[in-house]
Symmetry: C2
Subunit: 313 residues, 2 copies
């Protein structure tokens, strides 16, 4: 009937990608309050902050404080984002996070320049050194492909461009003896449409049948949930999402937030796909996030309500 996955894993990014895009500085205690609440929703992967230079992202200047103050739940993996080795050092120095090693590539040269001030080729040339580091530290590693579906800076991304990045990741990991968990394709600029999602995933599967694929979707042009559904129908079982649909990169102008965790989880539950998440607790978190940022967020379920109560009647 369909190729839906039995189970979907969400990686919650609200506390990082979400808060990061707010212009007003959010108090550390409020960030911690949301993270603690998210810890109780059943989410397994929780990105709590970003170890970037406060000059570039002032909102994340309290990264170490956030990590020090959160109450850690036993079944949750906590980690932070980082853009370079200094960032990784800071994350590890907290002593409380279980970091990932990440090999990030860009399908948009201009965006690479803006984000990390390097060309994609320069980025790739650092992979052997990064892999060595990750191996030494014993980090679980994954690949990330930024702007995999198009970019406001450099336009359309041909299928061959994404496939080249995937091949690069697989080959480097093999060469460097790194055992990777997955590759995540990011629609950083909200260019993807459902057919493109299916085409790209199908093409990757043909070349790398055993590669576990995840998606990082933004709802910049209203296609986020349709893309999510298309990916589910291809069996994709791993997604980066943000509570309430918070987010958008401060460097990707006009980019809307990630698809909302609670809306995505609701759709999964309606399709009979297990998420391990408690919808009512997610709704509480989305409302808390709205209260903290002080404005409405794009997520719908927190306002429409889940169907559990209505079905019980």
């Amino acid at each position: 009937m369909s190729d839906y996955p039995q189970k979907v894993t969400f990686r919650e990014e609200g506390a990082r990608e979400g808060f990061q895009s707010e212009s007003q500085i959010i108090p550390t205690g409020e960030k911690v309050r949301l993270i603690n609440a998210l810890s109780r929703t059943g989410v397994r992967l929780l990105q709590v902050t970003s170890f970037v230079h406060p000059k570039w992202v002032p909102q994340m200047a309290d990264a170490e404080d956030v990590v020090a103050q959160i109450e850690m739940g036993p079944a949750v993996r906590y980690f932070g984002a980082y853009l370079n080795e200094q960032g990784l050092d800071r994350a590890i120095a907290t002593g409380r996070l279980k970091q990932y090693g990440v090999l990030t590539q860009y399908c948009s040269e201009t965006y690479a320049k803006k984000n990390v001030n390097r060309s994609n080729q320069e980025i790739i040339s650092t992979f052997p050194q990064l892999c060595q580091r990750y191996r030494k530290l014993g980090l679980d590693t994954y690949g990330m492909i930024i702007a995999a579906f198009g970019s406001n800076y450099d336009g359309e991304v041909p299928l061959s461009g994404v496939l080249a990045a995937v091949d690069q990741f697989v080959q480097t990991s093999l060469d460097q003896g790194v055992k990777y968990e997955r590759i995540v394709l990011a629609d950083s600029f909200g260019w993807a449409n459902p057919e493109q999602i299916k085409r790209v995933i199908g093409a990757i599967r043909e070349r790398h049948p055993d590669l576990y694929i995840g998606l990082h979707l933004h709802d910049t042009r209203g296609t986020g949930m349709a893309n999510f559904y298309a990916a589910l129908s291809m069996g994709v079982g791993y997604f980066d999402t943000a509570i309430g649909g918070m987010g958008g990169s401060p460097f990707a102008k006009g980019a809307a937030g990630n698809i909302p965790t609670e809306d995505a989880a609701f759709l999964c539950e309606e399709l009979g796909i297990d998420t391990g998440l408690d919808l009512d607790m997610l709704i509480e978190c989305a409302k808390m996030a709205e209260a903290i940022v002080g404005h409405l967020l794009p997520g719908k379920l927190a306002h429409g309500g889940s169907l559990t109560g209505y079905r019980k009647r």
Copy 2:
């Protein structure tokens, strides 16, 4: 590869269902300004107001004035909503509208009571008289099934319930010699999920292969665009939408607006489906609608921007 329709027809409901759900009274001139702008987007079907009693919906008290003041484009069909024969009389009396005859059924008894103070059986018993009237007036006629996918009042709607309503519509039209254009299934409470959309449409097609099916989708729980995409993949080529995603029934608590016209049109264009609509003009209309209602609307494309400019580079 897929069953996408070659062409999708949108029926724009922003000026009716959209404005109707605003608590603050919108000046007639502002409504007219938006309708005039929408007339130039390429939209073919434009619902401009609702002929309901101002006691129940004060926002629509200026229905006749709106109709008198709009500048009518040649390729657009203008019409108003109505809930009973008095409403239809008012619409016809304007002398400027090309009304439809509508046979409306409810898959939620409680919602029928709240909306028109009748049971569904009582509603059906009026069909012969209505059909006679529509025939005499020479109105194009269609069927509408409210709460076809579930209701906050009465819970889930079994497939058999929707099919019975469809059968009733087809049989009545046949008995009464009414030639109908289509049947529209309304997800009035935002209960539908993509699998349900496919199941219901597939089941109707099996029984009535030649029946032209349309959808009226609300994005109450974040599934609106995924449902839209699922319907496209079933070949559905007719949708009620609202510019900016305005709307929500004043009697369906918590209901969010219709899916946004501009986002739905964007998705179609990206999938290679013709809409006849100008995306940039739709974006201007969505921005105008936000300015008129004085708050952000859920539509994304007006903020994310279309891809036309980026692709030209």
